[in-house]
C-alpha cells in the first residue's frame, strides 16, 4: 500500500498543472454569456452548458492522453525500470497509476465545473440531484474505461508485434458476437434484459481491461512484446469467457416457454379451435414479455420469436387452422417477414414466407377465412398474397386521406376496410370511410361512410358475412352502441347509450345476437338484441358499478364480471355466467376474468363453448379453462 500511495502521489505531483488548467477552463466557462453569438437565452444556462461541455471534453481528452502515456510512455522512453528496479509490486505500480489517472480525470472535470456550480449556473434540470450518484458512477466508469482502453491500445500498437492482427481480428469477432446477441434480444423487445446483459458484459470487459493492464505490467515488465502478449492473453481470455457468458445469457433469456411466465397478462384467441396467443412477463427476465401460440388442450406451444406484431396483431384464420405474424429480420428499419403456423398439423413449426416489407408505418395482417390468403397493410399500401405460393395477388395504394383502422376478409376475393379520413390523426372525431377491395379485379372503391365517429371508437366486426358492424362510439364521456350497415355505413339500429357514470360493454353471441352490459347508479343489467338490432330482453344483475363482458362459454350464455367500484382491482370482481334465455346466473367465483381480453379486435365470430370463450385468467395470473359440466376450472398455465 505504501508503494501504491507513493506512485499515486508521484503521478499527481508530476501532473499537478492539470488541476490549474482545469480551474482556468472552469473560470473561462463563466465568460460564456459574453460571447456575442450566444447572446440569446439565459446566461446561467449558457454558462452551465458550456461548463459541462468543457468538463466533458477536458475529462475525455485527459483520460485518453493519460491512459496512453501512463505506462506506454515509460516503456517507450525505457523509464519503467525506474519503478521495476525498486521494491514496487506490479499491482502497486499499475493500480497506483490508474488511481492517479482517475483522480486527475475526475478531479480535473470537477474543477472545470466548480466555478459554474459556485455561481449557481448548473441548474437541477441539467443534473437532477437524485441522479447525481448514478451519474457519478457512470462518469467514473466511463473515465476508467477510457483510461484502460487508451492504455491497451497504446501497448498493443507500440509493441509492434504481429499479435496486433490477432487483437483486431478478436475485436471484430467479439463485436460481431455481441451485436448478434444484442440484436436478437432487441428483436424480442427484451430491453431490460438486454440492458442487464450488456451492463454486466460492459463491467466484465472493463474488469478485463483493468486486469489486462495489470498483467501487462506484472508479466511483461520492461519487455513490450511480452507485455503485449500478457495483456492480450488476459484481455481476450476474460472477454472471450464474458462473450460466451453473454451468448449463454442471450440463449437462456430467450429459452422460455409458457410455463416460464410469472402470470398471463393477455390472451388473444383463435375464433375456434384450441389455439390462443398468451403473453406475460417471463420469470427472472425483467420486463421481457414473450408471446406464445398455445394449444390450450394439449399444452403445445410455439414462441413468437422476434415477433413485432404483438399480442393483439397475430392474425388467425376464420376456421382457426392458421396463424400469421410478423418477424423482424434485422434492426430498426429492416424489413419484416410474415411467418405462419399450420395450427391443424400436430407437429407443425413456424414457416417463413417470402412476404416481407419495410416497416415504415402502421401495419396489420389479416387472414382469410380458410387461411389461404393474407392481406398486409403497411403505411399507405395494401397487398393480398396467396400464402401457399407467396404470390402477390393485388397491391393497391390507399387513398391519401384514409388511414386504415381495420380490415377483414368478407370472402376470399373481397376485403373490407375501415379508415379515417384524417391519416395524421390530428382530430378526435371524423368520418369513417368504408372501402372494399375486389381482389380479382384489383380494384379498391369506397362503398360508404359513417359520419362523425370518435377515433377511439371500437368496431366489432363480428359478422363474418360482412352485413353489419357493431360500433361502439364515445363522445364526452358517454358511450353509444349501434349496429351499422357494413357496406354503406348507414345505421341499422341504435342499441344502447350510457352516460359517463355508467360503465358499459358489448359482446356478441355465436348466433349473431348482441349483448350490451351496463353498470351504474341505477343497477346493473344486460340488454339482449337480435342480430338485426331489435331489443329482445333486459336481464337484471346484482348491483355493480363496473361490468366486463366475455364471450359465450356455454351456448346461450355470456360471461360477466361485476365489481362494486368503477376503479376496482380485479380481485374485487365477481364472475358469473348468465343464461341469456332465462336470466339464470351461475357464479364462477371471485377474480376470474374472461381471458379473451382482446376478443374485440378479432375479425371473426367466436364459437359458442369454444376454447376462447372458456378461457379465464385467475387473480394470480393463471390461465384456466372453464369446464361447464363440472362448473369448475382446469388450469392450463399456472402462475409462476
Amino acid at each position: 500500500m505504501r508503494a501504491l500511495l507513493a506512485v499515486v502521489e508521484r503521478e499527481l505531483g508530476e501532473r499537478r498543472t492539470v488541476f490549474a488548467a482545469a480551474l482556468v477552463a472552469g473560470l473561462a466557462a463563466l465568460a460564456t454569456p459574453l460571447l456575442p453569438w450566444l447572446a440569446r437565452g439565459g446566461a446561467r444556462e449558457q454558462t452551465g452548458v458550456m461548463a459541462l461541455t468543457l468538463a466533458s471534453a477536458f475529462a475525455v481528452g485527459l483520460a485518453l492522453t493519460y491512459g496512453a502515456s501512463m505506462i506506454g510512455r515509460d516503456l517507450r522512453e525505457r523509464r519503467l525500470g525506474f519503478y521495476l528496479a525498486r521494491p514496487i509490486p506490479a499491482w502497486s505500480l499499475w493500480f497506483g497509476k490508474l488511481a492517479a489517472g482517475l483522480l486527475l480525470v475526475l478531479g480535473g472535470g470537477f474543477l472545470v465545473l466548480l466555478p459554474a456550480v459556485v455561481a449557481g449556473a448548473i441548474p437541477g434540470a441539467l443534473i437532477p440531484r437524485d441522479r447525481v450518484p448514478l451519474l457519478a458512477a457512470l462518469v467514473a466508469a466511463g473515465a476508467l474505461s477510457l483510461l484502460v482502453l487508451a492504455h491497451a491500445a497504446t501497448v498493443a500498437v507500440r509493441s509492434r508485434s504481429r499479435l496486433v492482427v490477432l487483437d483486431v481480428a478478436l475485436l471484430f469477432a467479439t463485436a460481431g458476437a455481441v451485436t448478434a446477441v444484442s440484436r436478437r434480444l432487441a428483436g424480442e423487445s427484451a430491453s431490460a434484459g438486454l440492458l442487464r446483459g450488456l451492463s454486466a458484459y460492459g463491467l466484465l470487459t472493463l474488469a478485463a481491461l483493468v486486469a489486462a493492464g495489470w498483467a501487462q505490467v506484472a508479466a511483461g515488465r520492461s519487455d513490450p512484446r511480452r507485455g503485449h502478449g500478457a495483456l492480450s492473453l488476459t484481455l481476450w481470455g476474460i472477454v472471450g469467457v464474458s462473450t460466451a457468458l453473454l451468448a449463454g445469457y442471450g440463449w437462456w433469456f430467450l429459452a422460455v416457454s409458457p410455463r416460464s411466465l410469472e402470470g398471463v397478462f393477455g390472451v388473444a384467441a383463435a375464433p375456434c379451435g384450441p389455439w390462443m396467443v398468451v403473453s406475460g412477463r417471463a420469470r427472472g427476465r425483467g420486463d421481457y414479455e414473450p408471446a406464445f401460440l398455445l394449444d390450450a388442450t394439449t399444452g403445445r406451444s410455439v414462441r413468437l420469436a422476434g415477433s413485432v406484431t404483438g399480442l393483439t396483431k397475430v392474425a388467425f384464420s376464420g376456421d382457426g387452422t392458421r396463424a400469421a405474424w410478423l418477424v423482424a429480420t434485422g434492426g430498426r428499419g429492416s424489413p419484416a417477414e410474415v411467418r405462419t403456423l399450420d395450427l391443424a398439423a400436430p407437429a407443425a413449426r413456424p414457416v417463413a414466407t417470402t412476404i416481407s416489407f419495410p416497416m415504415q408505418g402502421a401495419f396489420g395482417l389479416t387472414l382469410s377465412a380458410d387461411g389461404g390468403r393474407i392481406a398486409v397493410r403497411e403505411g399507405p399500401s395494401l397487398s393480398v398474397y396467396d400464402l401457399a405460393t407467396g404470390r402477390r395477388l393485388v397491391s393497391v395504394r390507399l387513398p391519401g386521406a384514409v388511414a386504415v383502422a381495420r380490415a377483414w376478409f368478407v370472402s376470399a376475393d373481397r376485403l373490407r376496410l375501415l379508415g379515417f379520413s384524417d391519416p395524421r390523426g390530428r382530430v378526435e372525431r371524423g368520418d369513417l370511410a368504408i372501402l372494399e377491395l375486389d381482389v380479382p379485379e384489383k380494384r379498391l372503391r369506397e362503398t360508404g361512410r359513417i359520419p362523425d365517429v370518435a377515433r377511439s371508437a371500437l368496431f366489432f366486426v363480428r359478422d363474418g358475412g360482412g352485413a353489419t358492424l357493431l360500433l361502439r362510439d364515445t363522445c364526452e364521456g358517454s358511450t353509444t352502441f349501434a349496429l351499422v350497415n357494413a357496406v354503406t355505413g348507414s345505421t341499422v339500429a341504435a342499441l344502447a347509450a350510457c352516460d359517463r357514470d355508467t360503465a358499459c360493454q358489448a359482446t356478441t353471441l355465436a348466433d349473431g345476437r348482441i349483448v350490451v352490459g351496463e353498470a351504474g347508479a341505477t343497477g346493473a343489467r344486460l340488454r339482449v338484441f337480435s342480430p338485426a338490432g331489435e331489443a329482445e330482453r333486459v336481464l337484471e344483475l346484482p348491483a355493480a358499478r363496473t361490468i366486463r363482458l366475455g364471450l359465450e362459454p356455454v351456448a346461450g350464455s355470456v360471461a360477466v364480471a361485476l365489481a362494486p367500484d368503477r376503479l376496482a382491482d380485479w380481485a374485487a370482481y365477481t364472475t358469473l355466467i348468465v343464461d341469456i334465455a332465462h336470466g339464470s346466473r351461475t357464479a364462477l367465483g371471485r377474480a376470474y376474468r374472461p381471458a379473451g381480453w382482446y376478443w374485440w379486435v378479432s375479425d371473426w365470430r367466436f364459437a359458442a363453448g369454444g376454447t376462447a370463450a372458456r378461457a379465464f385468467l385467475a387473480q394470480d395470473g393463471s390461465l384456466v379453462l372453464l369446464d361447464p359440466s363440472a362448473n369448475g376450472f382446469r388450469t392450463v398455465l399456472p402462475a409462476g
Binding site: 505504501r2 508503494a3 507513493a6 508530476e14 523509464r79 521495476l84 520492461s222
Partner: protein, 300 residues
C-alpha cells in the same frame, strides 16, 4: 563461507529470432565486485534486466540472494541498488522529489548519506532531473542506489557518456562505498580501465556467449604477450601455454598466451630463444581486445 548473491543458470534471452544471450551461467559471490565486460550489443544489458527481474529469460533462470528473481523481484529489489545504463529518473522529477519518492519504498534509507553525496557533487535538489548534466544524473542515480544501503549494487554501464573526471569520481565514490560496506557489486561495462581498479572478478560476453568468468588477478596472471623473433609459424613448444591469438608484424609476430605459467615458461624460454624482455603482462583492456580480436587468427 562465501554464499552466492547472484547466479545465472543457463540464461538465454531472445528478441524474436535474435539470440541476445545464449546459455550463460556464472555466479557472483557475496562481497565480490563482478565486472561483466562486453562490447555494445554483447548482451550485458539483457543480463542486467534479467538480474533485476525486469525481463524473463527465454531459457534458464536468474537467482538473487538464492531465490529466483523473476518471482521474487519486489523482495529482492528491497536489497538491491541500481544505477541504470541510461538515467531513468522521470525528467520532470527533481532530486528532492525523487529522493522523497524512493525513501518511502525501502525499509531503511540513509537520507543523510544521500544528501552528503549530492552535496559533494553539487547536485541541485530542485532542478528537474531532465535538466541535470549527465554527470549529475549519474551521481544522483548512484546516490539513490546507495540510499537503501543495498546488499547488492548493480551498475549497468554507469560511466557511459561520462567524461574522464566524472568517470573517476564515480569510481572513487564506488570504491569508498565498497570499503565502507562490503557491498556486492555487479558491474556491466565496457570501461575496462575503470574496472581494473575495482573489480575482483570479471566475465566477458561476446555475441551473447560467456567467453570467460574468472578472478581478475588470476586472469591477468595467466595472460601474457610474447614477441616471437622467428617470423612464421607458431613454435610448437608454446602450445601448452594456451596461445590464444597471434598478430603478425613486419619485423616480429606477437602471440597472446592464455595459460602462462612463470616457472614452466622459464624452462621453455631458452629453448624457444625468447628473451625475458619479450614477455610482457597485459592490461585488462589488452586482454579484452585479444579476446575479441584474435588478430591474424585465433590459434587453435
Amino acid at each position: 563461507m562465501n554464499p552466492t548473491v547472484v547466479a545465472f543458470d543457463r540464461v538465454s534471452v531472445r528478441y524474436g529470432r535474435t539470440v541476445a544471450v545464449d546459455g550463460v551461467s556464472f555466479v557472483v559471490p557475496r562481497g565480490c565486485v563482478y565486472a561483466l565486460l562486453g562490447r555494445n550489443g554483447a548482451g550485458k544489458s539483457s543480463l542486467v534486466r534479467c538480474l533485476l527481474g525486469e525481463q524473463k529469460p527465454a531459457l534458464g533462470s536468474v537467482s538473487v540472494f538464492g531465490r529466483p528473481v523473476w518471482q521474487t523481484r519486489v523482495a529482492a529489489m528491497a536489497r538491491v541498488g541500481v544505477v541504470p545504463e541510461e538515467p531513468d529518473i522521470p525528467p520532470e522529477m527533481s532530486a528532492a522529489a525523487t529522493i522523497a519518492f524512493c525513501a518511502r519504498l525501502y525499509p531503511s534509507w540513509d537520507g543523510a548519506g544521500v544528501e552528503r553525496r549530492l552535496d559533494r557533487f553539487g547536485v541541485p535538489r530542485t532542478v528537474p532531473a531532465g535538466a541535470l548534466s549527465k554527470g549529475q544524473k549519474g551521481q544522483l542515480a548512484l546516490a539513490l542506489a546507495l540510499g537503501p544501503s543495498p546488499d547488492l549494487l548493480v551498475l549497468d554501464d554507469p560511466t557511459l557518456g561520462l567524461d574522464a573526471v566524472a568517470r573517476k569520481e564515480l569510481y572513487e565514490e564506488l570504491v569508498e562505498e565498497l570499503a565502507d560496506r562490503g557491498t556486492t557489486v555487479f558491474l556491466a561495462t565496457h570501461d575496462l580501465a575503470g574496472v581494473e581498479a575495482v573489480a575482483d572478478r570479471v566475465g566477458a560476453l561476446a555475441g551473447g556467449r560467456l567467453l570467460l568468468d574468472e578472478d581478475l588477478e588470476a586472469l591477468k596472471g595467466r595472460f601474457r604477450r610474447v614477441r616471437l623473433r622467428s617470423v612464421g609459424a607458431l613454435p610448437p613448444e608454446l602450445a601448452r601455454f594456451g596461445p590464444y591469438a597471434m598478430r603478425r608484424g613486419a619485423f616480429a609476430d606477437e602471440a597472446v598466451l592464455s595459460r602462462f605459467d612463470d616457472g614452466a615458461f622459464a624452462e621453455a624460454r631458452d629453448a624457444l630463444g625468447i628473451d625475458p624482455t619479450d614477455v610482457s603482462g597485459m592490461t585488462m583492456e589488452e586482454i579484452f581486445i585479444a579476446l575479441h580480436d584474435p588478430g591474424d587468427g585465433r590459434v587453435p
